[in-house]
């Protein structure tokens, strides 16, 4: 009894982690598979083929690059716009401020199917050709919401006395922003940008409605799933996972080492 009581939380935690990581482990494992038929669903034979010939399947790398490019551009534009909106909402009192605060949540709250289809209707009505630009517009729209929310939280959590102190110490409005406000809000902006990129890279529903003939990575996988997913997709997906992991670990390591060097200083 005592043994159970002592270890039950740990046991449940392990089970939850297993539950979370099994799908990822399967994806990585099957990137080393050499499937028998078209479908990479049954383990056949270990091989590095998918990794050595990662672009071996037509279109897969093209779609991957398209998604990376799309994600980067949308994130940069949305982060700049969203940061400015957040500053306006926190720092200034203007007409329509509270309704803006509410409306900014809409893209986050609305179901993606609704968003995707209504955007499509809009573009069709405007006779706007579907493609990179329409997908980008759609992505920027929903990333902005996340950026605004993250940067706003950061700004609101900032002690207003810090900016007063900067003004008191001979920093004009521009210098106050550059040397105090911006560095303090930056972690929020970076966090929002990372999240925005992963949302854009990951998005299928909204992109699918508005892509026209453009093939993003999720759209490619969806198409491939109809005909049989090549292990290259697993390899690319593993690559994404590993780079995300590397970023997180790198950041942890960096802050840990900095804290240690400061403590011994």
């Amino acid at each position: 009894m005592r043994w159970i009581r002592k270890n039950i939380i740990g046991a449940i935690a392990i089970l939850v982690l297993v539950y979370l990581f099994i799908p990822i482990a399967v994806v990585i494992a099957f990137s080393f598979n050499k499937p028998e038929g078209k479908f990479n669903l049954q383990w056949n034979e270990f091989s590095f083929n998918a990794w050595t010939q990662i672009c071996g399947v037509p279109g897969v790398c093209q779609s991957f690059l398209t998604s990376v490019q799309l994600g980067l551009i949308s994130t940069v534009i949305a982060t700049v716009l969203g940061t400015m909106i957040a500053f306006a909402l926190v720092r200034y009192r203007f007409r329509g401020r509270s309704s803006t605060n509410l409306l900014i949540f809409m893209p986050m709250a609305a179901p993606e199917v609704v968003m995707g289809s209504s955007l499509l209707a809009l573009f069709l009505n405007l006779r706007f050709p579907l493609g990179t630009v329409t997908v980008m517009i759609a992505h920027i729209m929903f990333i902005i919401s996340f950026v605004v929310v993250a940067v706003k939280a950061r700004l609101q959590g900032m002690d207003p006395k810090l900016e007063e102190a900067a003004r008191d110490l001979y920093a004009g409005p521009a210098a106050t922003f550059r040397y105090v406000t911006f560095p303090l809000v930056l972690p929020g902006i970076i966090g929002a940008a990372l999240l925005g990129f992963s949302l854009s890279f990951d998005d299928f529903i909204i992109s699918f409605f508005n892509a026209g003939t453009l093939v993003t990575f999720p759209i490619y996988i969806w198409g491939a799933a109809q005909r049989g997913i090549p292990p290259q997709v697993n390899a690319l997906a593993s690559l994404v996972f590993i780079s995300a992991l590397a970023i997180v670990l790198g950041a942890q390591l960096y802050s840990w080492r900095r804290r240690r060097s400061l403590a011994t200083h």
């Binding site: 002690d159 006395k161 007063e164 102190a165 110490l169 400061l262 200083h265």
Partner: protein, 392 residues
């Protein structure tokens, strides 16, 4: 050797700070009401008052962080009212210190110099950190410092700019009692070393009295009384000051003789005070005396009282021994509680509860005040609530 940075010990030209009719209105409330004072160059000036009395607003107007509704701020002959905060030769030590969390101690201290385009800051920053005894922590982040250390960084960050006036907004409020005492001495030392005018805002009367050479007691946007701490304490001019700065026994009475020596009849007892210590305009007045000025004697020893002293008969209702002194509560014939402190330097028995006693004190320690504002003005509301509970 660079020429930048403060040179400890050297005298530099500092100018007076003058407020002329300074007023700030928030909505329909006059937070600061026609404030006109001159703060002498190089002095340590304390603005003392309860929260909401307008002292912090006054400070912020001097710093340029708040715009006055009307009135002006001068440094020497120069009107700085229209200057923005970053253009004023004035620096602030904030209550929460407001150290920049993303910069280390060195960069925090160097901030003001860098913003003014000074390139070589090492010598000045080093000197400043030495003044506040933090040289070894230059590369730490503010969050790694203790409260007292952060406080010293805040002082260094402001003083390095050699301001004409250093503003301190309750700088010791966040520290515990022991550290506060230590920092009081420290700040006093720094002030005498750099010779800058310090304007210190606080609600702690003891802090104001120990540190400042001029104290201004502020109440409802106005200055009630201004002067040397000892003068303000010994000779309060209003009921507010008598109650807010220390404690006072206040007895309502009627003036029966004016002139050089004022005689008062209060509940049938006669009190005397010098005419120069009576500040009541009319014949109604409040007789005041500080608790430590009263000497408590057993009724049997009444013969030992020298002639000319003010005396008051009563019964002891409470005795509390506080170490340094003993605190007596004495009930007068008309049912008023009077408080008296006795130094624990006497040999022999103290008076006990129920003893009939005579309190006596010198007319020179007596003051007369205008009763118009009521007798409880200046007493902490929570203390008042306690007292009414005790009576019920």
């Amino acid at each position: 050797m660079t020429n930048e940075g403060p040179r400890a010990g050297t005298s530099r030209r500092v100018e007076d700070l003058r407020l002329a009719g300074l007023t700030k209105v928030f909505g329909d409330q006059r937070a600061v009401d026609e404030l006109s004072i001159t703060i002498a160059a190089g002095s340590f000036f304390a603005l003392l008052g309860a929260s909401g009395c307008g002292k912090t607003t006054t400070l912020r107007m001097i710093a340029g962080l708040e715009e006055p509704t009307s009135g002006q701020v001068f440094i020497g002959d120069k009107d700085i009212t229209e200057l923005r905060a970053f253009q004023r030769p004035v620096n602030t030590v904030f209550q929460s210190y407001a150290l920049f969390p993303h910069l280390d101690i060195f960069e925090n201290v160097a901030f003001g110099l860098r913003r003014r385009g000074i390139k070589h800051v090492d010598a000045a920053v080093g000197q400043m950190l030495e003044l506040v005894e933090l040289s070894s922590l230059a590369r730490r982040k503010p969050s790694q410092l203790s409260g007292g250390q952060q406080q010293r960084v805040a002082v260094a960050r402001a003083l390095i700019n050699e301001p004409d006036v250093l503003l301190l907004d309750e700088p010791l409020g966040a520290l515990d009692l022991k550290l506060r005492r230590q920092m009081q001495i420290e700040l006093k030392r720094i002030q005498s070393e750099v010779g800058t005018t310090f304007v210190h805002v606080t609600h702690d009367q003891e802090e104001a009295m120990t540190m400042a050479d001029t104290v201004a007691v502020m109440h409802a946007g106005r200055i009630e009384q201004l002067g040397h701490p000892a003068d303000v304490y010994e000779t309060p001019r209003t009921v507010f000051v008598a109650n807010f700065l220390g404690q006072s026994n206040l007895i309502v009475g009627e003036k029966i003789q004016g002139g050089e020596s004022v005689e008062v009849n209060a509940h049938g007892v006669r009190f005397t005070m010098p005419g120069s210590r009576n500040f009541a305009p009319g014949s109604q007045l409040v007789v005041g005396v500080r608790p430590e000025k009263m000497i408590v004697l057993d009724l049997a020893d009444a013969g030992r009282i020298p002639s000319g002293q003010n005396t008051l008969h009563g019964t002891v209702t409470d005795v509390s021994y506080t170490g340094v002194s003993t605190q007596y509560l004495v009930l007068t014939a008309w049912g008023q509680q009077v408080i008296a402190f006795e130094q624990n330097s006497i040999v022999g028995d103290r008076c006990a509860v129920g003893d009939p006693v005579v309190l006596h004190w010198s007319p020179q320690h007596t003051f007369g005040l205008d009763p118009a504002g009521g007798l409880s003005s200046g007493i902490d509301p929570s203390v008042l609530a306690l007292e009414s509970d005790a009576e019920a």
